[in-house]
Amino acid sequence: MEFGWEESQLDYRRRVKQAVDELLPEDWDETYVPESYASDLQIEFSREFCAKLAERGLLVPHWPAEYGGTDSPDWNHFILGEEMKAAGEPRGPQYMNVNWIGPSLMKYGTEEQREQHVKGISSGKVIWCQGFSEPNAGTDLAALRTRAERDGDYYVVNGSKIWTSYARKADWCFLLVRTGPGRKDITILLVPMNTPGISVTSFPGLIKDGHLNEVFFTDVRVPVENRVGEEGQAWEIVTYALSFERVGVPRYHTGLDALDLAVEHLKADGRWDDPVIQSRAGMLVAQFEAARMMTYLVVDQRVKGMPPSTDANLSRVVALQAVTDMKDFLAEFVPDCLAGGNHLLEDYYRINIPAGITGGTNEIQLDLVAQRGLGLPKGRS
């Protein structure tokens, strides 16, 4: 057991930081960050930024060389994620491409799909959205109703998706559709977002703009060759895909950055001398460091090729507690940050409002750890 970085990892982090410094515009913090990484502005910028990252070999470091990667260890991928989050996620929605859409297509896609999409993703110029949730099917994905009916060499898709971040600007949708009556008769289609019959509406919400979209599909014709895997194979593929996402985003990194910013704000406001505030801030550091430990534990398991465990779910539980307490800290001690006082802190707060919901609710994580990790008995259904 040891907790140090290797020199090559430190060097990699330095290269990423240098790239961020060189590639972000001077008004990044003032103009782009307040818009959120799901905004049209940042999504468009991500095409330029990720293409340049790709040119430097920094976009998909953990991917095989044949798909534009450098076969470097998973730790580098994670270091990249930390530094990107710390910078305000200039990859925009493309973090999703790199983390799980690409790897899923490498495993389950046809040769043509891999050639087109995996290489497209590694070029840094393609925007994807994820068509999973529906108005009546969020955590309970098996309840989804969007249907795809076979018509010769096409599927005809009807239905709607909701909470579809990035949909306004996406080129492609990784879409879950029902192809049969059973709970598990769900199939994945890759759908160009400019296909006739697709419309997107957006609505305002507590989190920043760009996340709250609804996508309507009316007689949308999708070629059969755009199906990933077989009909009814979506569960297996999604489970595989989300195993790449199971660590989640490095919330400790953004949390500690926001905390530093909050302390700066408190100092400027003449309120930092209060020992109550100081101890609460120090305790938050401890909580974020706890989240860091749990996340690194899971990355270490993944790097070593250990079988997936519920430690990944547990790491999300620990991180969420820290994030929740951080939001509470801001509301109690820096309340003006939600009233025009500091847009970066407001951005941190608002983007984390759904932290316990996105990517699998906290309650689902708790259920999984309880029953699969701790071996507690299932309750009555």
Partner: protein, 322 residues
């Protein structure tokens, strides 16, 4: 970065667990006790060299010893003799348990004092080392899961051995040790409770099948596991800020741990025969040591955001990576 034990560390832990397993059954005579100090186990730990791990192998291995011993139902001193004394006072020789105290607390009940042969006193910047006379220690009754005692007379610190400038090191390793103790005892108490709620039925089903019980147990488990790694990281890095972080995190989870575990063990959990209290009231005893979570939080804040700190104060964390 490697979160798994090395081969040598696994061998150390395995050998230790073998000894602990022989001392994990509560004797009938201790069924009504608030704590059980196993003097035979304490002697074995000393004779087998486990308490010399800090000097002979390294601080991380010493912290592992503390963590593993904290999981046992019997209370032993590993933090003082195995971790703090050898690292804060490297030039001195210690035999037998070592109790720890701040100078301001010399008049209060002190953890492990009735079994200790030495008392380390944190005095301003320095450490004073009192070799104890067992006849001058008054046992104190307590529901805490450790032996407590009081000094019969105020000690003459000026006559005690003196380790100048060692107070900060003493506090640092004290925090590492208490974090390891809390993490270990918490893990054991959670495991004990999981076994209990799987077997105990209410309303025709196991207590552990209720979602509210499951969710809270997972949260306690997550907190304890993270605390274990924070403690081990602090032992590995030797960085005082990491020690402050480990102590603050482990101490801040105690309220929820005690409430939930005692809730889930119900009425049984308030009897001394039900072993839960041996771990939970050891953890409770550690809640205030070295000032508690708020004092550690203040130290973290002072290090990270003091006016004199470097611009990138985060770099003071051993894993900040910058």
């Amino acid at each position: 970065m490697d979160f798994q034990l090395s081969e040598d560390q696994r061998a150390l832990v395995s050998a230790l667990q073998g000894i602990l397993a022989d001392h994990n059954e509560l004797p009938q005579s201790e069924r009504f006790s608030f704590f059980w100090h196993d003097a035979d186990l304490q002697a074995q730990l000393e004779q087998s060299g486990f308490l010399d791990a800090a000097r002979d192998i390294g601080p991380l291995e010493a912290a592992l010893v503390t963590y593993e011993c904290a999981k046992n139902v019997a209370a032993t001193d590993t933090i003082g003799r195995g971790l703090v004394a050898p690292l804060a006072c490297p030039g001195l020789v210690f035999e037998g348990p070592v109790a720890l105290v701040k100078e301001a607390d010399l008049g209060r009940a002190i953890r492990n004092l009735p079994i200790a042969q030495t008392l380390l006193v944190e005095c301003a910047e320095d450490v004073r080392v009192l070799r104890l006379d067992p006849g001058k220690i008054l046992p104190v009754k307590s529901i805490y899961g450790f032996p407590y005692g009081r000094l019969a007379d105020a000690p003459d610190l000026s006559a005690a051995e003196h380790v100048p400038g060692a107070a900060a090191t003493m506090r640092q390793w004290w925090r590492v040790g208490l974090a390891a103790e809390i993490a270990g005892a918490s893990a054991a108490a959670i495991d004990f409770t999981i076994d209990y709620v799987k077997q105990r039925n209410v309303f025709g089903r196991p207590v552990g099948s209720f979602q509210t019980v499951q969710h809270r147990l997972v949260q306690r488990h997550g907190h304890a596991l993270a605390g274990y790694y924070l403690a081990m990281r602090a032992a590995w890095s030797g960085n005082p800020v990491d020690a402050d972080i480990a102590a603050s995190q482990t101490q801040m989870g105690i309220k929820e741990l005690l409430f939930d575990l005692h809730q889930f063990n119900g009425g049984m959990g308030v009897t001394t025969e039900h072993q839960l209290h041996f771990w939970t009231y050891r953890v409770r005893a550690l809640q205030a040591e070295t000032g508690g979570t708020h004092a550690a939080g203040l130290d973290i804040a002072a290090n990270r955001w003091s006016q004199t700190a470097k611009p990138s104060a985060a770099s003071q964390l051993s894993m900040a990576g910058s």
